[in-house]
Symmetry: C2
Subunit: 191 residues, 2 copies
Amino acid sequence: MSYFRPLALEHASRLINHGPTLLVTSAFGARRNVMAAAWSMPVEFTPPRIAIVIDKRTLTRELMTASGAFGICLPGSAAVNLTYAVGSVSGREQDKFERYGIASITSPMLGVPLIETDCAAWMECRLIREPHTEEAYDTCFGEVLAAAADTRVFADGRWRFDDSNTELHTIHHLGGGSFVRSSNPISAEPL
Amino acid sequence: MSYFRPLALEHASRLINHGPTLLVTSAFGARRNVMAAAWSMPVEFTPPRIAIVIDKRTLTRELMTASGAFGICLPGSAAVNLTYAVGSVSGREQDKFERYGIASITSPMLGVPLIETDCAAWMECRLIREPHTEEAYDTCFGEVLAAAADTRVFADGRWRFDDSNTELHTIHHLGGGSFVRSSNPISAEPL
């Protein structure tokens, strides 16, 4: 049974507002891939748009350019080893879904592979072609067409990180395989 | 006494690799400003370059465009109230440094104001003009010319978040004044 439920698109930016490390999924023809990406951000609330850095030498970049689509999955802390693994090897040599036994679903709108197991949320995105920034900064823009989240950790447009869902806390890469987890909530008080 | 020490530029991207919420500082002529920004990312290691979303209607955008420079400060959890406050009011109506009693230094290369109190690190950036992405996505690119970090939390190119420096743990905005803190380190194991 899946705890994933569709998300109102107006809340999609909140999924990555706090800077989690992501998995990027892509497919074209018979090929598919998944890689890790630490460099991403929302750029617009409505329509929900994001920017993400994908090295131009990667298979992911090749597949997303060919298909015009990519998927974003938010690994929970239970997927930290997988995240680091798929970020360290190239999909050109092997199908990483097969190698690591990753279960995937097919996204409803664009048909990209998406991962729900040990993940907190996903988005499927249409690539907005921006040849200059893609070339100069490896920065790709995308529009989020659909999103879903595990209701145990994100519901009613809000993250709820607590002791009941530590496996789904998002992870934030510090470098070299070291991560911190989204935890220790704190609320700002008016000054 | 300041614990801030200059950072090797090759390590600058690590300051924001994990997605912290930032303070953006700017100045031109007699005016200066500070605002909060949750949407940023590195885009290149060497030279260190970043992208950050700054709404085109803000005073910050006006000042950074006029001066060609901006500062990035990483608020620690001790600065969470200040971060939310400067993200909620406009500098057009008042000097936020004065209103909130914020001490600042002047950056060594570009002369932008920078905040060290209750902050974990800073960077000073030259704005790389990209009129199309600035207009279409409010996305501004910058090159980091100098950076420094509080050695109690970042040294030898690495973050060290532990119980000894909780006040300097970076903060990550979930929305509506709720933040998580960079904590609960976890290391990926090979699969």
